[in-house]
């Protein structure tokens, strides 16, 4: 089975590793992105970034940082899947939601209790809303109406008057009254589908509800261990992803270190693309010389300069990663152990043949 390629041609793993090291060594501004990997892979990637002065980014950084911005600029109530299931008599769903993971459990027939569900602007997803023992009320439809709807609800909950909106005043009145009457409510949204300012309005609404009752939130995050990678960035650098090491210390700038911008402006001359959970190729066509660490079958628009096939965490090898079902980092054994190397192994092999070991100087 082929496991390494240079410019699309199968090679021995050592040759691919040597070529990757050569590209990294020759680079003035390397970029490590994708970062769809387990905790060990993220640790290795950040260590390498520190050593070579690279930028570290993640394929889901946009939505992660959008959500994080709420906490970084105002306030946020959070809860866990288990607590939501144990306590929530009310769910406030905002925008389209993929019905997976903890959300599905909360609205399923096997949920711990019957809940009152309000779904604001579900787009087409509302049609599939779970019902059964839960009561579901759809309010509004299109995503673009969500900010105004939330603002109007927030105003009514705070007892302020509002002007005319697309939603009937009587409906707003009823929903705000019902939300205030909940015992423990949980607001849920998909961070990939709701804009930061809208999330901020929703979080403000939740905070206001806590003046008299209990309300919290359970944002749904993208896959690819995005939250796990965020945590590792946090403890290793003190900062989230979109952090560069070129200055010799970690420097966080969500605009400057956005992969797409770096690629688009030609500011990077070597990309390490990591996607171990899915055979995902980079979303851009033209790019700097690329070292891809992904599952073997990734369909690249342009063959990467170096491609090393890596195993899927928790399938081919044991892994630690974020589990949406628990909301924590968990250690999982390999379900189908194989010979495929892990991202951490691949990076440590590349790092071990780099011709220098100090931080790069500009």
């Amino acid at each position: 089975m082929e496991r390494a390629w240079i410019a699309g041609e199968p090679v021995a793993l050592d040759a691919a590793v040597a070529e990757a090291a050569k590209l990294v060594a020759a680079s003035n501004q390397p970029l490590i992105t994708g970062l769809g990997t387990d905790i060990a892979g993220a640790r290795a990637a950040i260590s390498l970034a520190q050593r070579i002065g690279a930028v570290i980014d993640h394929m889901h950084a946009e939505s992660l940082l959008g959500d994080l911005d709420i906490a970084r600029s105002s306030g946020l109530m959070l809860t866990t899947p288990a607590e939501a299931d144990a306590h929530a008599d009310t769910l406030l769903l905002a925008g389209p939601l993929s019905q997976s993971g903890p959300f599905q459990q909360l609205v399923s027939g096997s949920a711990r209790m019957a809940r009152r569900i309000f779904w604001l602007c579900p787009e087409n997803d509302g049609a599939t809303a779970a019902a059964g023992r839960h009561s579901v009320r759809l309010v509004g439809r299109e995503s673009r109406d969500l900010p105004v709807l939330l603002a109007a609800l927030r105003a009514r909950i705070a007892g302020r008057s509002i002007g005319k909106t697309a939603i009937a005043a009587r409906t707003l009145e009823q929903v705000s009254r019902d939300l205030k009457a909940s015992r423990f409510g949980v607001a849920i949204w998909s961070v990939a589908h709701v804009e930061a300012l809208t999330i901020e309005m929703l979080c403000g609404l939740v905070d206001d509800l806590n003046a008299t009752t209990r309300f919290s939130t359970l944002p749904l995050f993208p896959a690819d261990n995005a939250l796990g990678a965020l945590q590792v960035c946090g403890w290793m650098t003190g900062l989230p992803m979109r952090t560069g090491f070129g200055r010799g210390y970690p420097h966080h700038d969500p605009w400057l270190f956005d992969s797409r911008r770096l690629i688009g402006c030609g500011e990077t001359d070597c990309v390490i693309w990591i996607s171990a959970y899915r055979a995902e190729a980079p979303p851009w066509r033209e790019a700097a010389p690329t070292i891809a660490l992904t599952a073997a079958e990734a369909g690249f628009q342009v063959p990467p300069r170096v491609h090393i096939a890596v195993g899927t965490p928790a399938v081919d090898h044991g892994a630690v990663h974020y589990a949406p079902s628990t909301g924590t980092l968990v250690a999982v054994a390999a379900s189908q152990p194989s010979e495929l190397i892990s991202v951490a192994d691949a990076i440590s092999r590349i790092a071990s043949v780099l011709p220098y070991d100090g931080a790069r100087r500009c």
């Binding site: 306030g75 959070l78 288990a82 003190g238 420097h251 966080h252 980092l329």
Partner: protein, 544 residues
């Protein structure tokens, strides 16, 4: 490898030693002066102070709560943007790597992370595995968890509670148990907004006192060396000294440790209804031999409060400085992250500063009052050197007091206190006593057989300077710091208690986790192989 530290003033209160002489180390351990003395390396410590490595018993350095605070506050990180010197918390050691290095530079070699929710234990241990040089340990937080509250509700036997506590200690790889506002977080989920020692958790029908007593008893019966570590109810509120006094009285002869007591040293006297009650509190501690405390000293400057006391943090969220916060209704305790800025000009903050120092100075025995700032809640741990200096000099305190609001100082006894800590008392408080409090018989002293964790300081009148950067630090016999700079980076271990426990509970826990969480309980465990370091744990025996 035989190493000799030659001619320093050796201060080792655990062994009654304060003299000028040598310390010898071989293969990571302290040894008696060998008869045939041909060292492989000799370090001249003439004119220097030689102590065991310091031990911090309560410092929030790792885990989901701490990491969330990092992500919440990019502006507190030195690297967030180029800034003039003295950026808030830039000196705090904000990544795990800086944390280990900053501690080592001050001569600290063991640090306890005191608030790990068992379900976040793996996360905390991953961070600790990335914290260099120092050894570390964690306390597992219980007391708002459904399983324990249900046991108490059902009037289950003491042994059922012991089995559960032992199971938690093992699954989370902790060294002891902490309880944080017992029952308060569970009550908050039922919309309760204030919770005291004799208040009852709705639904479960158990009081905070019952929870504390049950855990205290279980920890003691299991022989866990560290007594139950208690974060009392009503943290930070005027008049809360009564809660602390009630909790001290509730010790009832069994060991009990009260954390960051400064935050409970408040009376409600004066025009603003906020005063120091430290003198009353110190008197009660002096009279209760079974009680130990740590201080949680406040120092002025921007910081962030990180606490599993979700109720307290929720109530404080709108007083955040800067205005942002995060409150987690967690599987058990949850957490609250609320940035705060302690200001010299603020009456309340000045009283808090004084209360901490009063406790240090009015509690008679340095081995019963432990040195903490509740990092980063009262102040970042990097402010320790300034606090040592304040404890050792009444003149320095007088200069600080002169700069603080008179109205605040009038509400405390601090200006009248003349006591000055000696170096021996500092060593007892930060070395000998913490080792004893955690059952670490081979730490905190320089007798033969001890782990060769040694801190050497250049003796000088400027105590802050002296303690800020150690002249030499040895970790397990290896030189890791010279003149405050890291010379060699090692990876310490996590100290965890070794229990012989009854396996009969395992099946019950498996069923409980399937029912309550819908996942195998295995998911929450901390396997050594997941931490990415060889032999990440060191086991500490229980009392027999």
């Amino acid at each position: 490898m035989l190493t000799r530290l030659a001619g320093g003033r050796v201060i080792d209160p655990a062994n009654g030693r304060d003299d000028v002489g040598d310390v010898w180390m071989r293969d990571g351990r302290i040894i008696d002066t060998p008869s045939e003395a041909r060292p492989d390396a000799t370090y001249d410590t003439t004119g220097k102070i030689v102590m065991a490595g310091a031990i911090d018993i309560h410092s929030h350095i790792a885990g989901w709560n701490v990491n969330t605070a990092r992500l919440l506050l990019p502006e507190y990180h030195r690297a967030a943007m180029p800034r003039p010197a003295a950026t808030p918390l830039s000196y705090a050691g904000w990544s795990t790597f800086e944390t280990g290095c900053c501690y080592a530079a001050m001569g600290f070699t063991t640090v306890v992370e005191p608030a790990v929710s068992p379900h976040y234990a793996l996360h905390a241990h991953l961070e600790l595995a990335d914290t260099p040089i120092i050894d570390k340990a964690t306390l597992a937080v219980l007391g708002n968890d459904d399983y324990l509250l249900s046991l108490l509700h059902a009037n289950e036997s003491e042994s059922a509670i012991e089995d559960y506590v032992a199971w938690i200690l093992e699954m989370s790889r902790s060294i002891g148990i902490k309880v944080v506002n017992a029952g308060g977080a569970a009550a908050f989920k039922e919309n309760v907004r204030a919770f005291s020692l004799d208040d009852v958790v709705p639904h479960y029908g158990v009081s905070s006192r019952q929870i504390v007593k049950a855990l205290q008893r279980a920890v003691n019966t299991l022989g866990v060396p560290h007594p139950l570590h208690v974060h009392c109810n009503n943290l930070g509120l005027a008049g809360n000294v009564e809660t602390a006094l009630d909790t001290i009285a509730a010790a009832e002869g069994l060991p009990l440790h009260l954390a960051h007591l400064q935050f409970y040293g408040y009376g409600s006297e004066g025009e603003r209804g906020f005063s120091s009650a430290a003198a009353r509190l110190a008197e009660a501690v002096n009279a209760a031999a079974e009680v130990t405390i740590d201080v949680g000293q406040v120092m002025f400057g921007p910081t962030v409060t990180i606490s599993a006391d979700v109720l307290r943090q929720f109530n404080a969220r709108h007083r955040a400085r800067p205005k942002k916060w995060l409150i987690l209704d967690g599987d058990a305790n949850g957490a609250g992250i609320v940035p705060y800025d302690y200001r010299r000009s603020d009456f309340y903050n000045a009283v808090q500063w004084a209360v901490g120092l009063e406790l240090f100075l009015l509690i008679d025995k340095p081995e019963r009052v432990f040195f903490t700032t509740d990092h980063p809640n009262g102040a970042p741990f990097t402010s320790y050197p300034e606090i040592f200096a304040l404890l050792m000099s009444r003149d320095l305190r007088a200069r600080w007091i002169a700069d603080l609001p008179n109205a605040a100082m009038a509400m405390t006894t601090l200006p009248s206190i003349t006591r000055e800590y000696t170096l021996t008392e500092i060593a007892a408080m930060t070395r000998a006593a913490p080792a004893r409090l955690f059952g670490l018989t081979d730490r905190g002293h320089l007798g033969a057989g001890a782990v060769a964790d040694v801190a050497v300081y250049a003796d000088g009148a400027d105590r802050a300077k002296m303690f800020r950067s150690a002249a030499l630090v040895f970790k397990g016999g290896e030189l890791v710091v010279r003149d405050g700079e890291i010379t060699h980076r090692t990876w310490g271990r996590a100290l965890t208690v070794a229990l012989r426990r009854d396996r009969a509970i395992d099946r019950r826990m498996k069923e409980y986790y399937e029912e309550r969480y819908g996942v195998p309980e295995e998911l929450f465990k901390v396997p050594a192989h997941a931490l990415g370091r060889p032999e990440p744990f060191e086991f500490v025996p229980c009392r027999t």
